[in-house]
């Protein structure tokens, strides 16, 4: 149905819309720099209070960093709901750009923002007694990007069908925050009670936290390094594909 040959380079038909969306996310972010404060500040305060309170900043560091990334990913994807009703996404829905390129642009853009904010949080690592060697920075940054991509995909899947932002807030409180709580961010899997431990095993976020602990050489990384990487990457890929499929569906109701 979609003709590759009719209009110029096929690659530009796919990547140009994705790139312009990605760029749009960055430009918007740059123009609303106060957003950084909102996203980074609350996990930071949270981390400092609980870390100094329990006299163990290192244990809660990875959890707080993932929370920063999660807040940013939620913040970006929640905007889909409004953006589709009255915003730029509306014109995207009636443009010939493939939906998959739109999904790629939106998720990569939002993931980049989450990544930048995760990196900002990384600047506080010395407080946790973590020292990162220059070469390690590459693997840490890559791990944070992978987690950002995964959580943005999760946000997209939740947001795409939502009618209102209040529904998203409910899901955030009932699903996302509890998910974060039983991911090894607050307590290690080794000391958890039976059924909570089982929850932790099936929680993809557990593997994100573990991945970060491994790359930062922090303790309490229950799943192994390779396992953490594979599960996080697989989860991210599944969410990305699900986003693409959802967005490609034809609407019979008023999507906007």
């Amino acid at each position: 149905m979609y003709s590759w040959t009719r209009r110029g380079l096929p690659l530009s038909d796919f990547f140009l819309p994705a790139a312009t969306l990605w760029q749009r996310e960055l430009v918007r972010f740059w123009r609303q720099k106060s957003r950084v404060l909102g996203v980074v500040a609350s996990p930071l305060v949270f981390w400092l209070l609980i870390g100094y309170g329990s006299n163990d900043l290192a244990r809660f560091y990875s959890g707080a960093l993932v929370l920063t990334v999660m807040f940013s990913a939620i913040f970006s994807t929640i905007s889909i709901i409004e953006d589709r009703r009255e915003g730029f996404l509306l014109s995207m829905l009636v443009s010939p750009a493939p939906r998959s390129s739109m999904v790629l642009g939106k998720i990569l853009g939002a993931a980049t923002l989450a990544w930048i904010q995760g990196l900002i949080f990384l600047a506080f690592a010395p407080l946790a007694g973590v020292s990162i060697r220059p070469l390690e920075l590459v693997s840490v940054a890559a791990a944070i990007f992978l987690i950002s991509f995964t959580l943005t995909g999760l946000g997209f899947v939740i947001a795409w069908r939502m009618e209102s932002t209040s529904g998203f807030h409910a899901i955030m409180n009932l699903l996302l925050v509890p998910m974060w709580m039983v991911s090894g961010s607050l307590f290690p899997m080794s000391t958890a009670h039976g059924w909570v431990k089982a929850l932790m095993w099936v929680n993809p976020l557990t593997y994100s936290i573990a991945l970060l602990n491994h790359t930062l050489r922090l303790p309490n990384a229950a799943p192994g390094a390779v396992e953490s990487l594979v599960v996080t990457a697989a989860f991210g890929l599944v969410l990305f594909l699900a986003s693409g499929l959802m967005a490609a569906q034809k609407a019979t109701h008023s999507a906007a």
Binding site: P17, V27, G87, S91, T252, S254
Partner: protein, 302 residues
């Protein structure tokens, strides 16, 4: 240019569009007039490929909106009722992003942007953020954006809603220029009579049904003659008396009795004479599209 054939749409049990058929010719300004909830937005969503219909079909520039939306999207520019601009970006940035969505770039895109900015008179605001623009200007940017890929058809949903009369006139001037200058076919939905009156042809939609079709003049001529509006304390009583005495159908609405009649001035004299003291005020006007709508449906548009 646009063919709508037996188009029907349901939201669950609710019938939003029922067996609507019409055709829009090339270079026409075609209006879809009706009250909110009449089915205009549903029709617009289907034509703009945002939603597939329950039954029937619609073709734009020969392409089926349901089966080949990608082809339709290349030929159609869409102006939404709600804003579809990124408020945090400038006018030019919005246009550039829109061009990219249509696979335009480089020199070609640059030229298209220049032309769009020029023909909608946005040159001095091109570097302004959308959030700093007035409603009328934003609407012009929306149109500039919708025209960037040189579509043959422009679909506009309630484009002049929320604009002041000056901005509204300005907008219709731009629409007229598009049609006469570039031969763009325009379909617009509206509940504003003045705007509908400027269209070449119209359909009237009420509760999902097409109740009339024609040029504004043809539609007004259906009523013929004049509309006499009578104000009275007991409208139902007066209406039935008029029916008895003159054998004429009248419509009671908003505390008024409306009568359509060919020689209004003569009727006024007779009716006032016939029911002395009962009539508080009398009005006479040439039929408007509102009268046509009331005549066909018993309901009002605005």
């Amino acid at each position: 240019m646009i063919q709508v054939q037996n188009l029907t749409h349901r939201y669950g049990d609710r019938l939003a569009l029922s067996n609507v058929s019409f055709e829009v010719r090339k270079g026409e300004i075609f209006g879809v007039l009706g009250p909110n909830g009449g089915g205009k937005s549903t029709l617009f969503r289907i034509l703009s490929t945002m939603m597939v219909p329950t039954a029937g079909r619609a073709l734009i520039a020969g392409h089926d909106v349901e089966r080949d939306p990608a082809a339709v999207r290349r030929h159609v520019g869409v102006v939404f009722q709600t804003q579809s601009l990124d408020k945090a970006l400038t006018v030019e940035e919005n246009l550039r992003a829109q061009g990219h969505l249509h696979g335009l770039r480089g020199v070609v895109l640059g030229e298209r942007i220049e032309r769009a900015i020029e023909r909608l008179g946005l040159a001095d605001r091109r570097h302004d953020l959308i959030e700093t623009l007035s409603g009328g200007l934003r609407r012009r940017v929306e149109i500039a954006k919708a025209l960037l890929h040189s579509p043959q058809v422009l679909l506009m949903d309630e484009a002049s809603t929320g604009l002041d009369p000056a901005a509204r006139r300005d907008l219709s001037r731009h629409i007229e220029n598009l049609r006469s200058g570039e031969g763009v076919t325009i379909l617009l939905t509206t509940h504003i009579l003045e705007e509908a009156g400027r269209c070449d042809r119209l359909v009237l939609l009420h509760q999902g049904n097409m109740v009339a079709e024609g040029t504004p003049a043809e539609l007004r001529a259906r009523i013929g003659g004049d509309v006499v509006v009578l104000q009275t304390a007991d409208t139902a009583l007066l209406a039935s008396k008029i029916e008895q005495r003159f054998g004429m159908r009248s419509v009671v609405r908003d505390g008024q009795v409306r009568v359509e009649i060919s020689n209004g001035h003569r009727f006024i004299a007779e009716v006032v004479e016939a029911f002395p003291g009962a009539i508080e005020s009398v009005g006479l006007h040439k039929p408007t599209l509102e009268d046509v709508f009331v005549d066909q449906t018993g309901a009002s548009i605005e």
